[in-house]
C-alpha cells in the first residue's frame, strides 16, 4: 500500500526535524552564560569550593569542549531522557521528572478543549454554513470573530472574575473554583497511598485517579476545577474551526456535485449531510490539527492564570526563577508535540480525502 510508504516517509522526515530542533535548543543553551547553566548542579552547602564545583559541572555537561562536541554531549543526554536539573521548591530535582508530573494535566486540558470545540463547531458550522448570510450566520460570524479577537488570558481573567468563587469579590455567579486542579479540602483524610505530594497515581490526573479509586467527591471537585480553563481554551479553537467549517460548507455547496445530488432528487437535508458536509470536513480537519497544536501556546497563559499545574504553569514558574534547563526542556517537548501533531494531521488528511496522492 502506498499509505504505508507515506507514513514511513513522514516518520523518516521526523528525524532531521527533531535533530534540527535539538540543534536550535543547543544554540540557545550556548547563548546563556555558563554560570546560570551550572547553577542547579552546584550544592551551596557543600564544602567543595564553588569554582571546583563549577568546573566539574562544566566537565560533566561537556562545556569544556568546543560547541560541536558539547552538542554531542547534549544529544547524548537527551537520548537518555536527561533534560537537566532544576531547583525549585516543591518540585523534583530533575526537569524530566517535573515534566512527567505536569504533562498529563496539559494534555488533559488540550484534549477536553479540542473535543468540546469539535463537538460544538462541526454541527454549528454545518448549520450556519448551509444558511449563508442568514441571521444565524451573522451571529456565528460575530461569535467566531470575538473568539479570534479576545486574548485567552483576558478571557480567562474575566471568567475567573465572573464565575470564580472568591470571598473578596463576593460575586453572585461565583460557583466554580478560582484556581488549581483540586481543592485542599477535597483531599480525603487520611491521605491515601495514591496521593503523594499533590500528585496522584497512576495517571497523574486527579479526575481519572479519583474515579479509579472510587473517590467521587474528589472527582466532582477536580471536574469543577477544569471547567473554566477548558472553556477558555475551547473558545479560541472553536472560533477557528467554526469559521473554517462555515467556509468549507459554503465552498462545497457551490460545487457542481451538489447540483448533481439535487438533480437526483436527494432531499435538501441529505444533500447537506451527505454531500456538502463530507467535503467541507476535509479542509476543516487540517485546520483542526493545526489549531489543536496552536492550543499549546494558549495553554501556557491559561494555566498560569488558573494556576493549573500543567506544563504551561511549570514553564512560567521556571522562567520566573531562572530555571534555564526547565525552560529549554519544556520548549523542546512543545516542539516535539507540534511536529507529531502535524504528522497525525497529514495522515488523517490522507485518510479522509481519497484524492490525496501520497
Amino acid at each position: 500500500m502506498e499509505l504505508r510508504y507515506f507514513i514511513l516517509r513522514r516518520l523518516l522526515l521526523l528525524i532531521p526535524t527533531v535533530l534540527g530542533l535539538s540543534i536550535f535548543m543547543f544554540i540557545l543553551i550556548e547563548a546563556v552564560p555558563k554560570a546560570i547553566l551550572v547553577t542547579p548542579y552546584i550544592n551551596p552547602h557543600s564544602r567543595i569550593p564553588y569554582i571546583i564545583q563549577e568546573a566539574n559541572a562544566l566537565k560533566i555537561l561537556g562545556f569544556n569542549y568546543p560547541p560541536p562536541i558539547a552538542y554531542l554531549f547534549y544529544l547524548d543526554r537527551l537520548l537518555h531522557g536527561n533534560l537537566g536539573l532544576m531547583s525549585m521548591p516543591g518540585y523534583p530535582n530533575s526537569v524530566a521528572a517535573a515534566i512527567v508530573d505536569a504533562f498529563p494535566n496539559t494534555i488533559q486540558l488540550t484534549i477536553f478543549a479540542s473535543l468540546l470545540s469539535i463537538a460544538i463547531a462541526i454541527p454549528l458550522g454545518t448549520y450556519i454554513g448551509a444558511r449563508p448570510n442568514s441571521i444565524a450566520d451573522q451571529a456565528g460570524r460575530v461569535f467566531s470573530l470575538t473568539g479570534y479577537a479576545i486574548p485567552a488570558f483576558w478571557l480567562a481573567l474575566m471568567l475567573q472574575i465572573v464565575f470564580g468563587k472568591n470571598i473578596l469579590l463576593g460575586n453572585p455567579l461565583g460557583v466554580l473554583p478560582f484556581s488549581g486542579s483540586f481543592s485542599a479540602s477535597a483531599i480525603p483524610n487520611p491521605t491515601p497511598s495514591w496521593f503523594v505530594n499533590g500528585i496522584t497515581y497512576p495517571t497523574h490526573l486527579v479526575i481519572f485517579d479519583a474515579l479509579i479509586h472510587g473517590d467521587f467527591p474528589l472527582f466532582v471537585d477536580a471536574l469543577k476545577h477544569i471547567i473554566l480553563p477548558v472553556l477558555t481554551l475551547t473558545y479560541g479553537i472553536l472560533a477557528g474551526i467554526l469559521r473554517f467549517m462555515r467556509a468549507g460548507m459554503v465552498d462545497a455547496s457551490n460545487q457542481e456535485y451538489v447540483k448533481t445530488a439535487r438533480s437526483k432528487g436527494v432531499p435538501e437535508k441529505l444533500v447537506i449531510k451527505r454531500h456538502i458536509r463530507k467535503n467541507a470536513m476535509i479542509p476543516t480537519i487540517t485546520v483542526m490539527g493545526l489549531l489543536v497544536a496552536g492550543l499549546l501556546g494558549g495553554v501556557v497563559l491559561v494555566e498560569y492564570v488558573f494556576a493549573y499545574p500543567g506544563m504551561g504553569y511549570l514553564t512560567t514558574q521556571g522562567i520566573l526563577s531562572y530555571q534555564i534547563w526547565l525552560v529549554i526542556g519544556t520548549t523542546l517537548i512543545f516542539g516535539l508535540i507540534l511536529v507529531l501533531t502535524n504528522l497525525i494531521v497529514d495522515v488523517v488528511y490522507a485518510l479522509t480525502d481519497p484524492r490525496i496522492r501520497y
Partner: protein, 520 residues
C-alpha cells in the same frame, strides 16, 4: 386551423413543455436577462438538440428545467414547466416576492414554508421523472463518495417501493415452491439440463452463491423429502438477514409517502388555480392522508434507529442494480468500478457513471448539458453512441445541449437554436442544416470548419461579426440585430415572435414575417 390540429397531435406526445420561461440573475451590476420567455416542447422518445454559443442561455434553460439555477443570484421569474402533467413551477409566485426598484436594487423576500414544500415536490420529481447529465463529469461526481454509492443513492431514493415489492414477492415464496421445483428437477434425467434448471432457479431466488451446494444436494440425495428440507435450510439461511414483517411494514410506509406526495401535489396545483372549492377538497384529502401517518409513528421511531437494517435487503438489491446499470453503459468491470472513487476513473468512464446515475430510476426525460465537451473525440463518439442507443432502448426523451453543430447533426431529431436568451429558430434536424432561415443560424453554419471538406491555405471561413451581447443591457427588439447583415428598422424596435413557417419550422426573424401579423 391547421396549426391547431398540429398542436393537438404533438400535445398528446409531449413529455416536457416549457411555457414562457423567464429566468434572470440579480447581480450587483444589474439584472441579467438570461432567458427571455422561451417556449419549448419535447416529445416522447425524441432527442431535441439545443445549440448556441456560450452565454446564449442553453445551460440556464437546462438548469431552469431542473430548478437548479443557483439562487442567489438567479431566479426563475415566471413561466411554466410541465414534466409529464406536473408543473414543477406550481406556486412559483408564492416562493419569493421580487420587488425591482432599479436594475441594481432588487429585494427578494423568500417564503420559507413554501420553499420547503416546493423542495419536497422537486425531490420527488428530479431523478425520478427527469434527470440530468452534466458537462464536466470530474466536477459533477462527489469526490469523496464511491461511485457505486452515488448511483445507489438515486435508486434508493426513487425505487424503494418497487424493490421492496420484488424482494417480498421472492421471500414470501412457500415450501410449495421448493417442493414443486425439486419434483421437477428430479424428473430431469439429463445432468446438464438439470444443472441448468438448478442454476436458473437459484438465480431467481438470488441464492447464486449457494448454487454449488444445491447441486450437491441433488447429487447426494435422491428422495424428494430430504432434498426439500436441505434446500429450505439453505434458503432460510440466506434470508435470515431479512425481517419480512419489518420490510413489509416499510413498504407500507413508502407507499404512504407516495400518497402523501400526490396529495401535496394536488393541493399545490389547486392553490395555483385559485378555485376555493378545489383547494378545500385537496386540503381535506391531504389531511386525511396525514392522519394515516400517525399509525406509522412507532415504525418511524424504529426506522430512525435501525433504518439501515430494515433497508439492508433494499441496499443489496440496489447494489445489484448498480452493477446492471454499469453494464448497460458498457463498463467492463462493474463490481470493481462501483467501488472506486471518481478520481480513479478516466473522463470517459466518469461520464458513463454519470449516465448510469441519470438512468438509475428509469426517468422519462434526460437532460444532457454538453455531455461530451470535456471529452476526446474517440471517447465522445463512444458516449454519443451510448446515449443514442439508450434513447432507442428505453424510449425516454433527451434534451441534448451542445455548442457543437456537428454533434447536433449526428444526434438529434429536432433542433432549437438559441441566441442571447431566445430560441431564434426551431426545426427538424434536416431542415436546420439544409434550409436554415435565421441569419444567426446561417452564420453559425458557415463559420464551422469542416473536416469533411477540402480546405487549403486560401480557404477562409465566413464569420459572424462581433460577439454575444451583454445581457444586462440586451439590444432592443431582436437581440441579434447588432450583428445581423440583414438588419431592418423594425428589428431594433420590436422583438420578433417564434413563428411557424410550416412543417414545424419556426423562426423568430422579421425577414419572414409581417410586422402586423405577429400579435396573435
Amino acid at each position: 386551423m391547421m396549426q391547431n390540429t398540429e398542436g393537438k397531435k404533438s400535445e398528446s406526445e409531449t413529455y416536457l413543455r416549457v411555457e414562457k420561461l423567464k429566468t434572470q440573475f440579480f447581480t450587483a451590476r444589474g439584472i441579467v436577462k438570461a432567458l427571455d420567455e422561451i417556449d419549448l416542447t419535447i416529445r416522447k422518445g425524441e432527442i431535441y438538440g439545443l445549440v448556441g454559443e456560450s452565454g446564449c442561455g442553453k445551460s440556464v434553460t437546462a438548469q431552469s428545467i431542473m430548478y437548479l439555477v443557483p439562487d442567489p443570484p438567479g431566479r426563475i421569474v415566471s413561466g411554466k414547466i410541465y414534466v409529464g402533467n406536473v408543473n414543477i413551477l406550481t406556486g412559483l409566485e408564492q416562493l419569493a416576492k421580487i420587488t425591482v426598484k432599479s436594475e441594481t436594487n432588487v429585494k427578494i423576500k423568500r417564503n420559507k414554508r413554501m420553499i420547503k414544500r416546493h423542495n419536497y415536490l422537486l425531490s420527488r420529481i428530479r431523478g425520478d421523472r427527469i434527470s440530468m447529465i452534466f458537462q464536466e463529469p470530474t466536477l459533477a461526481l462527489n469526490p469523496v463518495i464511491r461511485v457505486g454509492d452515488q448511483i445507489a443513492e438515486n435508486i434508493l431514493l426513487h425505487l424503494k417501493v418497487d424493490m421492496a415489492n420484488a424482494i417480498l414477492r421472492r421471500e414470501m415464496s412457500t415450501r410449495k415452491d421448493y417442493e414443486s421445483f425439486v419434483q421437477k428437477a428430479l424428473s430431469i434425467g439429463d445432468k446438464d439440463a438439470r444443472n441448468k434448471a438448478i442454476r436458473e432457479w437459484c438465480e431467481s431466488y438470488s441464492i447464486s452463491d449457494a448454487e454449488e451446494l444445491v447441486r450437491n444436494i441433488f447429487l447426494t440425495y435422491q428422495d424428494p423429502e430430504t432434498v426439500v428440507k436441505s434446500i429450505e435450510f439453505i434458503v432460510n439461511e440466506r434470508k435470515s438477514g431479512t425481517n419480512i414483517n419489518r420490510l413489509s411494514r416499510a413498504r407500507e410506509y413508502y407507499l404512504y409517502q407516495q400518497r402523501l406526495f400526490e396529495a401535496t401535489l394536488n393541493l399545490m396545483e389547486a392553490e395555483s388555480g385559485k378555485n376555493q372549492d378545489e383547494i378545500d377538497r385537496a386540503r381535506t384529502a391531504l389531511n386525511e392522508i396525514k392522519k394515516e401517518g400517525s399509525s406509522f409513528l412507532s415504525f418511524r421511531i424504529i426506522n430512525k434507529f435501525i433504518g439501515k437494517r430494515i433497508e439492508a435487503p433494499l441496499r443489496d438489491a440496489a447494489k445489484r442494480r448498480v452493477h446492471e446499470l454499469l453494464n448497460l453503459v458498457n463498463i467492463a468491470e462493474p463490481e470493481r468500478t462501483a467501488l472506486s472513487y471518481p478520481h480513479e476513473l478516466s473522463g470517459g468512464m466518469q461520464q458513463r457513471v454519470m449516465i448510469a446515475m441519470a438512468l438509475a430510476s428509469n426517468p422519462q426525460m434526460l437532460i444532457a448539458d454538453e455531455p461530451t465537451t470535456a471529452l476526446d473525440v474517440t471517447t465522445q463518439a463512444q458516449i454519443l453512441d451510448l446515449i443514442r442507443n439508450l434513447n432507442r432502448q428505453m424510449g425516454s426523451s433527451v434534451l441534448f445541449i451542445t455548442h457543437d453543430l456537428a454533434v447536433i447533426a449526428q444526434m438529434c431529431n429536432r433542433v432549437g437554436v438559441m441566441y442571447a436568451g431566445n430560441i431564434v429558430e426551431e426545426a427538424d434536424v434536416n431542415t436546420i442544416f439544409d434550409n436554415p432561415k435565421h441569419p444567426y443560424t446561417i452564420g453559425l453554419l458557415k463559420a464551422l470548419p469542416r473536416a469533411d471538406r477540402i480546405a487549403g491555405k486560401m480557404v477562409k471561413l465566413e464569420t459572424v461579426a462581433g460577439s454575444v451581447p451583454n445581457l444586462i443591457t440586451p439590444p432592443t427588439g431582436c437581440r441579434f440585430h447588432p450583428r445581423c447583415k440583414f438588419k431592418m428598422d423594425i428589428c431594433e424596435k420590436k422583438k420578433p415572435e417564434l413563428d411557424d413557417l410550416g412543417d414545424g419550422h419556426k423562426v423568430a426573424c422579421w425577414l419572414y414575417q409581417e410586422p402586423g401579423g405577429s400579435g396573435k
